[in-house]
Amino acid sequence: MKHTLAILVENRSGVLTRVAGLFSRRGFNIESLAVGITDNPDISRMTIVVSGDDHVLEQVIKQLNKLIDVIRVSDLEPGETIERELALFKVKVDKGNRSEVMQIVDVFRAQIVDVGVKSLIVGVTGTNDKIDAIEKLLRGFGIVEVVRTGTVAMNRGAKTVKPGK
């Protein structure tokens, strides 16, 4: 079972190490991790996708809460959450299949962000599943290089993840 956690942390050096170190030390599996600054420059927000049963998840959240630099941990509800990931795929192409690749890009509402003689870079944003799907199709042409950001996520509607008092 996958869970997406939104974690607000103090924007200090070493915080990422503390969080990542906790996961490895306690034997929790990180599927993906993305981190960036928030509207408050003192606070960073991490989105961590973690796999494990309810017991593992409970421990992850409790252990994260014990870190002094962790301000808030929120387990985002799947149906109530917008999730996005960005990926870049460098795909081998030739005269014969270039247009076929572009069709796939259109269907997925992805973008060609770089065109070379023998390769293309496809940029795509979407859910983890969508990116997996386009990757599967592009693999047929020969993927030379992949980079993915990991999921970022936010509650739908008015609900927010805020530091609180």
Partner: protein
Amino acid sequence: MGKKTRMTGARALIECLYAEKVEVMFGYPGGVLLPIYDELYDADIDHILVRHEQAAAHAADGYARATGKVGVCLATSGPGATNLVTGIANAYMDSVPMVAITGQVPRPLIGNDAFQEANITGITLPITKHNYLVTDVNDLPWIIKEAFHIAFTGRQGPVLVDIPKDVTTDEFDFEYPDKVDLRGYKPVKTGHKMQIKRGAEAIIKARRPVIYIGGGIISSNASKELLELAEIINAPVTTTLMAKGAFPDSHPLCVGMPGMHGTKYANFAIQESDLLIAIGVRFDDRVTGKVDSFAPNARIIHIDIDPAEISKNVRVDIPIVGNARSILKMLVEFISELKKSKSTTTQWIKKVEKWKQQYPLKYLMGDTLKPQYIVEQIHELYPDSIIVTEVGQNQMWAAQYFKYSQPRTFISSGGLGTMGFGFPAAMGAKKGCPDKVVFDIAGDGSFQMNSQELATVVKNDIPVIVAILNNGFLGMVRQWQDLFFDKRYSFTSIDDSVDFVKLAEAYGALGLRVTKPDEVAPALKEAVDSGRPTVIDFVVEREENVSPMVPAGAAINEILDLEA
């Protein structure tokens, strides 16, 4: 807001320590600490110079456990800091409040593999409650304030502060903050009222309750409240290694230690109980044995300050998060309101009492000197002592055969199981409680891991008594080899004729040797009366086993008698 005064970082550190009311610290100087040590030279702090930094950390730990205050240790960068690591890990595992201060190379050199540089904040990340690298002298006051606050509140633990040398020489306008504001750290204090009520209801309904207590009773100073609870509900109390002294061993409701080397009756009581009231414990594997078979018939109430301990190892039916003392107070109040009939546990207590009669802790006394007898004699003569232990057989015998009556009088490395802990920790305990007789019940293996501290105790006149239960073996490992490895004593014999009497004398301590039972009491008296640091070499039965014992991986009622 106080007055701002211009000073260096080193001076400010001393002012911070004054503000935190630090009276004693244990340390060892070094290159990057020169500015700090220059300030310590005439500071009003009793600084004890150890002979190895590991001992500074253990001494601070022992001081903290004996006094209930925060222990403070200080070491230089690189090897000084890494030598603290075992002591910090030890304090972390046993939730001991400690502030470890380390020197660091000057900021421009950090990351350059400079002389005596080690990334100690990185190294101690998983073994500290929190740690800091001070990168600006203006941050020093709030960091020290936070460090003491974090170490002492919530689930207590060690905090490390790493201070680069050039930060200690920088000047700034010093002002000590009067409060901390940590948005990511708000430890729960009082328990949830409804949960406590649920706990009270479960307790009243229980027919076979057992109270299972740990170090949390001692760190929250809840012994009085615990006694009240035990008596009002008339339930047996089992005290883990970390809780020794939190509930008097002599009390009729006390069933001693649970788990691997616990009493049979404590283990039987847990296995048959219908309600386990766990307070300030973490269901360690040495207590639960095979976890699936632990307390199979019991609902579990778990009271703990650390939410992460709830349902970590065993499922809990009624969790109550908060300070044990305040929760116990409320719990007793609720129970008193709800309880109508008198004791409903009379039958249960009778049963437990019968087990107690049937399966007492025992050993065979022969012509040779038995380690258990020595521990009993120490209790007989000096029942109000602080007993510090090393790790292994000596530790178990000290837990089994001394009858503790007061909290903070049994000090032992529980979680990490650190050989070499006892002697420096005893030194720290004695510094904190100079009026108490302090024994380090030691093994010949463990003692040799930090025996260099004999120099420290002699030089600083810290008269602790090291009682070596000398069997010429790494006894606990030998015991396992005896039982599970066909007596193949692979590298556990340390019968290497170290003359511990001469060793003591070489350092200027008193050294005594005892080989017969009737010499035990006179030697103990001579040691205590001398008022000097003393090593007593008790030459004991070589292959005595700690009994009873639950083999690793077995259920705790599958407990074997091993007495020879």
